[in-house]
């Protein structure tokens, strides 16, 4: 059902944990739907993501996409990170079963939510995420 890459990122997730003095924290999903992703970032003054960590409540695909997405944005500039798409995360994992596509959407959104938090803290007037894409098709956000 899962590719080797997904299983590898699930078994040995990269960047798990918290960053105590993170200057960007984003959380998406909700417990009712069975997935929550929380991403912590340390973003430098010249807008480079120097460190990134995640915590995820969710299935194997949710953990693997969190791991892959954090790996893909680590060391990148904020602008580069904003070009990350769920498709790119999926491709990097050699695909996901159709019912798990929403996990990759959540991973993209978690990255965006963290960057939004960074902008908000800095007082930068940019909007890079809608509140909830309803990607799971099942929830009312924030419930």
């Amino acid at each position: 059902m899962y590719s080797e890459k997904v299983l590898d990122h699930f078994e040995n997730p990269r960047n798990v944990g918290e960053i105590a003095d993170a200057n960007a924290v984003g959380q998406v999903g909700n417990a009712k739907c069975g997935d929550i992703m929380k991403i912590y970032m340390q973003i430098s003054d010249d807008e480079v993501i120097e460190d990134v960590k995640f915590k995820t409540f969710g299935c194997g695909a949710a953990i693997a996409t969190s791991s892959m997405a954090t790996e893909m944005v680590k060391g990148k500039s904020v602008d580069e990170a904003l070009t990350l798409t769920n498709k790119a995360v999926m491709e990097a994992l050699d695909g996901l079963p159709p019912v798990k596509v929403h996990c990759s959407v959540l991973a993209e959104e978690a990255v965006r939510a963290a960057i939004q938090d960074y902008y908000d803290r800095k007082g930068i007037q940019k909007k890079v995420i809608e509140k909830c894409s309803q990607c799971c098709g099942n929830c009312s956000c924030g419930e």
Binding site: I36, M37, K55
Partner: protein
């Protein structure tokens, strides 16, 4: 690491070697069609008759009341659609429960679309339905009551005898899906007043794709599969001879010493439950402590998700199952866990461990050794657990 520590016997079981041996002739040299008149066919026919008697004896029925099917799902479909269509002049109302297997629930969905009315009785926090509720749900138009004997997810045993007595008093057909109960408790269709009962071979160390429907003699119902004259002209299709013979052998073995089997398995189940409670914080047993099938353990572990748990257990060689949305193939967690009142997030974190005659004390020890660190590892990754970690300290 162990190779395959199998804790998913509610999904399916390992075929017993005596069962396979009984089947082998009918997969090789004894290949006759049971409907043929020459000896090769006649021998296949008597093999089926013998299996029918084995099934009948195991449930206190007559041979004529046992019809072989392609498994539990077909038996459920036939029982429910057959009684509904055969009695639609009398009424269109069916009583069932919120925790039935999908083979029952989706059949009822289908009938609702055809104009039947279905009452789904609620269950209490342990999954039990109340016979009083059954009584109160009965209307003039009620033609069928269908309540499962034992639940496949949380192992709760329903008060089948009491419901049977109510159905009998009111003259309403009573069907029970006994797929998960068979072999784990004595079942007598007469003392329990059961009119129709679904059985499946592969849950009792028999082959897959074969089961039976018990139908009380004289009960009015329609056929489901139309065709040849097999099974007293009520279930057409050339018989799955080897499968039927295997089912006969399996049911004979499964019911030979029910008390011995139950005692042994229940002791392991209870040790597993007690030890999980003592080794893992923030968990709850789903289903009752007593009044539970001897082979079922179902826990919810807060703050983690069931599919991730299954994948990690699989990495340690343990096969189990979960009621999380991710394993149900839909977006909602198990309807059974929601029906007993679990919030979604706790239902997502469930784990079912189901035992069999092949389960050993070493298997129990092994799962007790690997499970706590897996739960701890997933919790360490879970944002839901952060608060708890900060607030509470335990060893």
């Amino acid at each position: 690491m162990r190779d395959c520590v199998y804790f998913d016997n509610a999904a399916t079981t390992k075929i017993k070697s005596a069962v396979l041996e009984a089947m082998m002739p009918y997969l090789t040299e004894e290949y006759g069609n049971p409907s043929s008149i020459y000896s090769l066919g006649a021998r296949a026919h008597s093999a089926i008759d013998e299996a029918r008697d084995q099934v009948a004896r195991a449930i206190g029925a007559k041979g004529r009341e046992v019809f072989f099917t392609g498994g539990g799902t077909e038996a459920d479909n036939w029982a429910i659609k057959g009684v509904a269509l055969g009695n639609r002049k009398k009424g269109n109302h069916i009583i069932s429960t919120a925790i039935e297997h999908h083979a029952v629930l989706h059949t009822l969905d289908y009938l609702e679309k055809q104009g039947f009315e279905v009452t789904y009785l609620p269950v209490d926090e342990y999954g039990r339905i109340s016979p009083e509720d059954v009584k109160n749900a009965i209307k003039d138009t009620t033609i069928l009551i269908t309540v499962m004997f034992a639940n496949n997810e949380i192992g709760v045993i329903e008060p089948i005898g009491e419901i049977g007595a109510i159905a009998k008093e009111k003259g309403i057909a009573f069907h029970t899906d006994a797929v998960q109960a068979l072999g784990h408790m004595p079942i007598d269709v007469n003392t329990l007043n059961i009119d129709l009962m679904s059985l499946s071979a592969h849950k009792i160390h028999g082959p897959k794709g074969v089961g039976a429907l018990y139908v009380r003699q004289g009960l009015r119902m329609e056929n489901f599969l139309h065709g040849g004259a097999q099974e007293q002209k009520r279930r057409s299709g050339t018989e799955n001879v080897a499968g039927i013979v295997g089912f006969g052998k399996a049911i004979q073995l499964a019911t030979a010493d029910i008390a011995g089997h139950t005692g042994k398995i229940a002791a392991m189940r209870d040790r597993l439950i007690d030890e999980i409670y003592s080794r893992i914080p923030y968990c709850r047993l789903n289903g009752p402590r007593d009044g539970r099938v001897c082979n079922n353990v179902n826990f919810s572990f807060q703050y983690i998700e069931g599919e991730a748990l299954l994948l990690m257990l699989n990495m340690k060689g343990v096969a189990a199952s979960s009621g999380s949305a991710c394993t149900s193939g839909s977006l909602d967690p198990s309807h059974v866990l929601l029906a007993i009142g679990l919030p979604h997030e706790i239902a997502h974190g469930s784990l079912r461990l189901s035992l069999s005659d092949y389960t050993t004390q070493e298997d129990i020890d092994y799962v007790l050794e690997v499970l706590p660190p897996i739960v701890a590892r997933l919790r360490a990754m879970s944002p839901l657990y952060e608060e708890i970690e900060r607030g509470v300290k335990y060893v």
